[in-house]
Amino acid sequence: MAHIIGSISTSHVPAIGGALARQKQQDPYWKPFFDAYGKAREWLGRERPDVVVILHNDHGLNFFLDKMPTFAVGAADVYKNADEGWGIPPLAEARGCVDLSWQIVETLIEDEFDITTCQEALVDHSVSLPLALLWPEGKDAGAWPVEIVPVCINTVLAPYPSASRCYRLGQSLRRAIESWDDDRRVLIIASGGLSHQLDGERAGFINKPFDLQFMDSLVADPTWITQYSNEELVELTGTQGIELLMWVAARGVLDETPVKQHHAHYHVPISNTATGLLVLEPA
């Protein structure tokens, strides 16, 4: 039985890739953001995960509207990062943990999640940036110290899956990991959010009080967020704030276990986004 060490939820913003490419980590604009990952890296140094299940949302690199899945599970040997249109140099490819992928595919279908299975996939900044923030030495070496299973949740085309559906997706992922006959250590990453809106007359919308309340709720009251419909969540957090669904699914993986907040950080703004970082471990 594989062991779940805990979860790291983090925002992603394409501009972070630009800052990394130009080595701006110590720049006053960027320093508070990058520094916050130190505590998460220390924790990872102690916890030493082998495999990462990363809940993320694609931004038009791997999926287009001709085939837009609600939930997609990667089952590839390798996931290449690629140019998303801005010419930022791609980061290192990630090796897939194919065995866990198929374990997850089988369990999710058994639990009546109607996933799309992907034996080949590109991953965008929503996968590459959390890896680079958590393993900067891996970024420099061009190889990550973990294998991954990417699980993509649609936040492109409404209707998106509800927060409640995403939480239960996480519960099923937990069942998959715990029934995996392997002793590797598994980290859950959620990549997305927090409040932001790129488009429309409300562009630049950020909702700090809501974000902080949401982050707090994840510790002791994890289904608090499921009281809201997705339209309400867009109103409260912006059109791209809906990416918080990744955090909801990740919390579903930890599920009923009492959790302990190891580290939390909140910083506004990076580009147009409110960024959050939350490290949870089983209490």
């Binding site: 998303e84 249109g85 801005w86 867009v234 109103e235 059109t239 506004v268 147009n272």
Partner: protein
Amino acid sequence: MTTATRKCRRSIPGTAIFDGDLARIGYALNRMCFSFNAAECREAFQRDEEAYMTRYRLTDAQKDAVRSRQVLQMIAAGGHPYYLAKLAGIFGLDMQDIGAQQTGVTKEAFQAKLVAAGA
């Protein structure tokens, strides 16, 4: 239009949720923007915008929106923010440029608003 009756939607000021109604009118524009992941497609567009738009069968409204460089007009023509971001990159606009343009303020004022949101 047909789908307005489908359900009574929540109205969020200054915000359009990209659903079937927008996806339906926006497909050609979004498909063109999706192609911009490839550097050679971005170059082809830059060499001849009109030919590229015609090749992707953009509607007249979509062509006008692209020509205008106005993001709100592109959204009204069914453009999705994730895909439009690739087009904005070609035009040399970053997210604060776009934010400022859509909200009708200077870039500095838009950035200041973002900083204020974190206070």
